[in-house]
Symmetry: C2
Subunit: 411 residues, 2 copies
């Protein structure tokens, strides 16, 4: 939670955070600003102090709405630094940032860098600034244990927003099921009234429309993949594919609040009309592992323990997994889940590779549980996913209930 | 155009490009890959050679669809580098990238870095890699004259895609006008049948719905601002504001193709029912400047010449501008336009600050023309914007026609 940031900064000997980029679709910046149409902003947070947001004057009203302490870039015009920079704009940008840091009393210590933006110019900017400010040490984290650790545990209002996105998500999933089961069939495919096949692309357009009706965004797209595509975990599906009965459809949907706010993440696997025996068997194995692992979840346990457990359960059923075959591309070949919040993937991580002691199912963490099995050569894949919260009382709760049935009977 | 990249790399003594990040909503990566659900990819392009895309095996089908030469990250597992890295994941990531570059024969020369992603981890990765590969020089451009110069001029297929986004945009703008002019009024405001005011927020939700019906995205939101908000160029509008007759509405809409493809950018200023005399005067000044500058456009001219010309025209009419008052926040206080493509703002730039000789209206460049005047204290702002293409025959063309009328008469 935000209240943990100063403590985590102290533990990791960080004196300040420098957050860069737009205030939308930029998790670190959204976390502090709450979003808004603020382009190419800079936020500085010194340990033990409130953050300061630098903004361009055209966006002063949006900046004011954040409720943060703000400073206009009009106090730091590039033009004022161009002479000292010998007419070099890149150098003027470096000198400007140096002045901003100096004015905040930041001339020595460790500064963590955060935010999403174009990396090339930023790399050059900070590399040069590092030369000019040798007593400051700029550090970016490949495994961030400060901001991402704070973001990992959610305040009640954040959980409520994710729960609300869960309601939106399952409403759209319900509309999708209703649409699919209400269509005519011909030659084993869903068809329009004129007999032409309904395609994956058409269903995806409807999904986006239903999401837009709720006023949410879908920046990373939706996985709606059938048959062999369903057997490749991150194939998003082929737009021109028809919807054949009796084939697995993996439907993985992960929309976010407008402007790049909180996400939800959810997957169901469906067979239209009926499920062939081999598909049913694979589905039942996934469902059994889901239920077993869910029942075994304990607050504060390392998430990777359940990844290991999932592998062992699947291997016990005769499925290959990445536990014993790290480069495998069928069977169980991904991670059991991940945290979810302002990013669709964040801490805690379930991966067993280089685990961090902080990747635990902490109270108030929100994360996905998503075991799956993939056999692309057999034309099938199955994944079941919900987003869960770890309650402080030690219980776990699925944030948005939805039936897990494999077969969607046609009307 | 893509065909210019090798020449530009040679001119700027660049031996390779390293592009990082997702394949969606990431202009540099989309430019090479065409998009797709490919997360945290790496693309390497050596001068004079085809690019190579590295992908995670789960996304192999999406990677294959790019038509690029591809290599799976399964050939470069972190785990293979963990021993050499002393168990440090960050170091293993550095060693992995070093091996990938080395395998491509990149051990000396200059590498330009591109792409949007989390900057902190990337800064640390490249800083450390720079230490390990002292004969390679990694450079990011604050003013990129290579990739952005190539992207500045469009192929016919790219122009067609922007034109198509223009059709979508003006269709949605037309639907918005139709909606606004069909409502009832009460006490000088648009109202629902029950007499409650229609708000900015409701109109914005409708805009998003109409955009979704076209299957496009709106990742940066829409400016729909009335009255004083309209007088602040980048205020996006206040959701709870009612729609009062006779006040200026600045409607700036800039959607993109699904997945973060090509953008369009378009602004109209409207007064519902009638326009008060002072508003009409400001509108006519903006329209006159738009028409004058449009008529004077010449292919291959520096874009900033028209920014200067716009300032002079406005000052001749008695309006303050940034030409003589750089920090001004009313009058004409922004740039005349910008290139548009996979980014809503890109080369050519119209700014007079530190101009580049390549910021010209080159044949096949696509850019906006958007003069405006802002008087927030008088509760008004006016901007007119179209996206134009510079044709090789020396003519200029607005990519999507739409009436420029200020007043929307109510039905």
């Amino acid at each position: 939670m935000k209240a943990d940031i100063d403590r985590l900064m102290k533990e990791h000997k960080l004196d300040a955070m420098l957050v860069v980029g737009n205030a939308q679709h930029n998790p670190a910046m959204v976390y502090f600003t709450g979003g808004g149409h603020i382009n190419d902003a800079i936020l500085l947070k010194k340990r033990g102090q409130e953050p300061v947001l630098y903004f361009y004057p055209m966006e002063r009203e949006e900046a004011a709405r954040t409720g943060l302490k703000t400073i206009s870039f009009s106090k730091y015009l590039y033009t004022d630094f161009m002479k000292e920079a010998g007419g070099n704009l890149a150098e003027a940008m470096v000198l400007r940032l140096k002045k901003m840091l100096t004015d905040q009393g930041l001339t020595s210590g460790r500064v963590g860098i955060y935010g999403e933006r174009e990396v090339g110019s930023f790399y050059s900017l900070i590399s040069r600034l590092q030369q000019l400010m040798p007593k400051l040490f700029f550090e970016g984290y490949i495994k961030d244990e400060i901001l991402l650790s704070a973001m990992m545990t959610k305040e009640p209002a954040e959980i409520e927003r994710i729960r609300q996105m869960g309601k939106v998500t399952t409403d759209v999933v319900g509309k999708t099921a209703e649409f699919l089961t209400s269509q005519k069939t011909k030659k084993g495919m869903l068809v329009h009234k004129d007999g032409t096949p309904i395609t994956i692309g058409e269903v995806k357009r409807k999904i986006n429309l239903w999401l837009a009706e709720h006023g949410v965004e879908n920046p990373e797209g939706t996985i709606f993949a059938i048959g062999r595509d369903a057997g490749i975990p991150h194939s998003t599906g082929t737009a021109s594919d028809p919807l054949r009965l009796g084939q697995t459809i993996v439907y993985d949907i992960f929309p976010c609040e407008s402007g790049g706010g909180y996400f939800y993440d959810f997957t169901r696997t469906w067979c239209l009309g009926y499920a062939p025996e081999p598909v049913l068997k694979v589905y039942e194995d996934v469902k059994k592992v889901y239920d077993t692992v869910y029942a075994e979840l304990k607050v504060n346990e390392p998430f990777m323990n359940y990844q290991k457990r999932t592998c062992e359960l699947f291997e016990g059923m005769g499925h290959p997994t990445i536990l014993n075959s790290p480069t495998i591309e069928n069977g169980y070949c991904h991670s059991l889940g991940h945290g979810i919040g302002l990013q669709v993937h964040e801490k805690p991580w379930a991966s067993m590779i280089n685990p961090s002691p902080t990747d635990i199912l902490a109270p108030n963490s929100v994360f996905t549980l998503e075991p799956g099995l993939y056999y692309p050569e057999d034309g099938l894949g199955v994944r079941i996913e919900d987003s869960l919260v770890a309650n402080p009382d030690g219980t776990f709760e699925i944030l948005a209930d939805y039936p897990k049935d494999l077969v969607l009977p046609l009307k």
